[in-house]
């Protein structure tokens, strides 16, 4: 077991890589009642075409990573929620574009709960019957999202931007695609991506790191995983340009929803450079569109935006884009005004004092996040899979300069890379 001390955060992180390749991290939080644990695989909705070195190339139906997540909760002995409940643990899971995360939080029976988490995820149980039964449940989940205008406008933006890359495919798939999923395809995906060498266990809370790590070590030593070669993921080349400049969905809403963003052309970054670009871009977006900016206040005063107006930057080594917007009575007027205002800012760049304030705000936001075991585990895992270090964020913020942010403004805001997604009433 190794450890890293982060003095400025008053935190110590303990870790060990198991013989089978599993990464285990423990962050003790003295005085905390709760322990939160995540068991994550670097496998999400975009991983639909892949090959394990030495094995055949495989293409799988849309929505299968999410389907697999649902099915993991079923064991020969019944539903795993019941086992967690018996030990007072609240369990859940989520699937994103590039990872699937299983988790629990609990205040007692820590050994039992950590073992349950590791054991159920390492014990797939798929039958024709239980796979078919799940289709009705996921169909209702898909229908629920189809009625949700916020989800539709967000996904509409990705669909407008991306033509080939599977990030444009809904994480849950479609009713048609999930109906083609069988227990055999589930096992193929499971065996590829749930190998310990592709997974990370993170435990944070009132625990003893030595004890947790030795327990996981002996748990893993009792299981037999054949060594697996590297996983190759295949993605069709994605054109630089957006697929559609504007995409519109009809759904009854009180006001049109308008989300726009810029598709990044320079992709392929990983690790520290990716994290640095993410952070710099987020600072830049905050300086442009944040609620304390003059731009925000002008558009609010003009009744073109509301409190719902927000911004985000979503990235991975293969795709990256911004998403900005909210409810508006007049999407065209809003877009025109944004363009005027942003172009004026691009002429002169940001003020040094605004930059310093925005940076302080980001550092504060990061420290606040460290109060939450959930945020720590989720963000650490996400960064780790991309080669970044979540606990080094403050020094990263401290080295970003005004010049970097102004540079990012010019690089990212390219009107030929703009896509707009709208949800309007029929």
């Amino acid at each position: 077991m190794e450890s890293i001390r982060y003095e400025h955060l008053q935190e110590t992180l303990y870790y060990e890589v198991m013989a089978n390749g599993l990464h285990v991290y423990v962050l003790p939080k003295p005085g905390f009642q709760k322990t939160y644990a995540t068991f994550a695989t670097k496998y999400g909705s975009v991983d639909n075409h892949f090959q394990v070195e030495g094995q055949a190339e495989v293409k799988v139906p849309d929505g299968i990573a999410h389907f697999l997540e649902h099915k993991m909760f079923e064991e020969p002995t019944g539903d795993i929620f019941a086992t967690f409940a018996s030990h007072g643990a609240s369990a859940n899971a989520f699937t994103s574009f590039d990872q699937t995360v299983y988790l629990f939080s609990a205040t007692e029976n820590m050994n039992e709960n950590i073992q349950t988490l590791v054991d159920f995820v390492q014990n797939p149980y798929f039958t024709d019957q239980n796979v078919n039964k799940e289709k009705g449940i996921i169909e209702q989940e898909i229908n629920m999202y189809a009625d949700n205008p916020d989800w539709r406008v967000y996904f509409g933006l990705i669909e407008a931007m991306y033509q080939k890359h599977p990030v444009h495919i809904d994480i849950a798939g479609t009713v048609q695609s999930i109906n083609t999923i069988t227990k055999e395809t589930l096992y193929t995906c499971y065996n590829t991506f749930y190998h310990p060498s592709n997974m990370l266990l993170f435990v944070v809370g009132g625990v003893d790191p030595e004890q947790v790590i030795s327990m996981v070590r002996s748990n893993q030593e009792q299981k037999n995983f054949e060594p697996q070669g590297p996983i190759h993921r295949f993605f069709e080349p994605e054109p630089e340009q957006v697929g559609e400049a504007r995409r519109e969905v009809k759904l009854s809403v009180s006001l049109p929803k308008c989300l726009f963003g810029f598709k990044e052309t320079d992709v392929g970054l990983t690790g520290e450079p990716l994290l640095r670009r993410d952070t710099t871009t987020q600072l830049m977006m905050d300086l442009l569109f944040g609620s304390s900016t003059r731009l925000f206040q002008k558009l609010y005063d003009e009744d073109l935006i509301s409190d719902s107006f927000g911004h985000d930057y979503i990235s991975s080594p293969q795709y990256a884009f911004s998403a900005v917007g909210g409810d508006t009575k007049d999407p065209d007027q809003l877009l025109e005004r944004i363009r005027q205002e942003v172009e004026a800012i691009m002429q002169k760049g940001f003020d040094a004092s605004d930059f310093e304030r925005a940076r302080k705000k980001k550092i504060g936001g990061y420290l606040r996040m460290l109060n939450s075991p959930e945020n720590i585990a989720n963000e650490f895992t996400r960064q780790h899979f991309r080669g970044g270090d979540f606990f080094n964020m403050i020094s990263l913020y401290e080295t970003i300069t005004l010049q970097d942010v102004n540079q990012r403004l010019k690089e990212h805001i390219r009107w030929d890379q703009l896509a707009v997604s709208l949800v309007v009433s029929p």
């Binding site: 799940e134 209702q140 229908n143 205008p149 009854s252 809403v253 006001l255 409190d307 705000k361 504060g364």
Partner: protein, 427 residues
């Protein structure tokens, strides 16, 4: 559970509750102001915090106001307006970084946060003695848009419509953000008068969790809160409403794909009641968790839904059941849900359901101790209901609950309203 109790004091008829602890990297500050829900005041009271967050004496422009928060290392600042029982509660929250993580105590972030909150609450930006007209006009629009946007989120819309139908003869039917039709008539002079009156009469509680003391917080209130309150007003515990004998069915149509089925139940058991722990167990076994009857029977056995759960509101004495289903499955889903309610009344509860639900509630109560705002929210129940019940006491009561207790509690829950939101197509 090694909990540290809140230390209590008061200044200017404002109750102060402080939990000194070094466990967090921030100071969590929460201010609650509650008034009875009333048709004539609900809208102006709801509008008030929206106008207050536009500017203060020192930061009259909204951008200045927001920049100041960023100077405080992006202190979290927010407010919320909601109902608890028949009260309308306005809550302001701040979450400020403890100075020791950003280069030492000389920044006085707690003091500066109180200066800020004190201004927001007691020294708003004014012109001619009233709130600024452009702020009032803009925020009326903001509240109107918020009320109109509820329909966008069909889960939330169905939940609120179910309650509105169920409580149509009570103040509780009112939305905490008020009524759209009342907004246009609210002008700066009368809104300012409502605000000044609210500041004097609302029941107020201030909470701080973090590395501080009661004495320090009392001194900060003394210095930064420009309040003149003559009387301290307490919340009055409320009686639950009995409702109609026969359940009322409401079907509403909108342009949607998935049907939303919401059921409303009445109960005589409220927060202050000795049977409160039994009611929590009732809700937990019925639909609070993924091991509960609703999840297992509606979702896992019948594949009818993605979500199927229940919630219990002890302040109002109601429980709700919610699920999203295929529209033609309406009758089937209602039948299965009613069966679960009946099973509860018959006491068809397993030992495993009892022990799992106790373990889950125990976990919830213990986890609360790790989240400052959750500890605050739990303690505030005590102010609202007049019932002192620490989380340790509640936990001890939960452990004692028997199946017989849950069955008896089940008899106190009666189905009142079935609300179904469906598509516009003809059958």
């Amino acid at each position: 559970m090694n909990t540290v109790a809140f230390e209590r004091g008061s200044r200017k008829q404002l109750r102060i509750h402080v939990l000194p602890t070094k466990r967090f990297k921030t100071f969590a500050i929460s201010l609650y102001a509650g008034v009875p829900l009333r048709e004539d005041t609900v809208t102006p009271v709801a509008l008030t915090p929206f106008v207050l967050r536009r500017g203060t004496e020192s930061y009259p422009e909204t951008t200045q106001f927001r920049e100041q928060l960023e100077h405080l290392y992006g202190a979290g600042f927010g407010f919320d307006v909601y109902k608890r029982g028949d009260y309308q509660i306005v809550q302001f929250r701040m979450d400020t970084i403890n100075d020791s993580f950003v280069g030492g105590g000389e920044q006085q972030l707690l003091d500066r946060s109180f200066a800020f909150l004190g201004e927001v609450l007691t020294k708003p930006a004014r012109e001619n003695g009233h709130f600024k007209t452009p702020y009032v006009q803009a925020e009326r629009e903001t509240v109107r848009k918020k009320l109109e946007s509820i329909v966008n989120d069909k889960m939330r819309y169905a939940a609120e419509r179910c309650i509105e139908e169920m409580c149509k003869h009570e103040p509780y039917r009112l939305h905490p953000l008020g009524e759209r039709k009342a907004l246009p008539a609210i002008e700066p002079p009368e809104l300012t008068a409502t605000y000044e009156n609210w500041l004097k009469e609302a029941s107020m509680d201030l909470y701080v969790v973090g590395d501080t003391t009661l004495e320090e917080v009392e001194e900060l209130v003394e210095r930064h809160f420009n309040l003149e309150r003559k009387t301290s007003s307490d919340y009055q515990a409320q009686k639950s409403v009995r409702g109609d004998e026969e359940p009322n069915t409401v079907i509403e149509r909108l342009n949607i794909g998935q049907g939303k089925l919401n059921l409303g139940l009445r109960t005589s058991i409220t927060y202050a009641d000795d049977k409160y722990a039994s009611a929590l167990m009732y809700n937990g076994i019925l639909g609070g968790y993924p091991h509960s009857k609703l999840f297992v029977n509606v979702r896992e056995k019948e594949s009818l839904a993605y979500y199927a759960s229940s919630r219990y509101d002890g302040h109002k004495g109601i429980a709700t059941v919610q699920s999203g289903i295929e529209i033609p499955n309406y009758e089937k889903a209602v039948t299965i849900i009613k069966q679960q309610l009946e099973e509860m009344k018959l006491g068809h509860i397993t030992d495993l359901e009892m022990s799992q639900t106790k373990a889950m509630i125990r976990n919830l109560l213990k986890e609360m101790q790790d989240a400052a705002f959750e500890m605050i929210a739990y303690d505030f129940n005590r102010q609202l209901s007049g019932k002192e019940r620490t989380s340790e006491e509640l936990l001890a009561q939960i452990e004692q609950i028997t199946k017989q207790d849950v069955r008896e509690a089940a008899e106190q829950f009666r189905l009142d309203t079935i609300y179904f939101l469906r598509d516009e197509k003809e059958e």
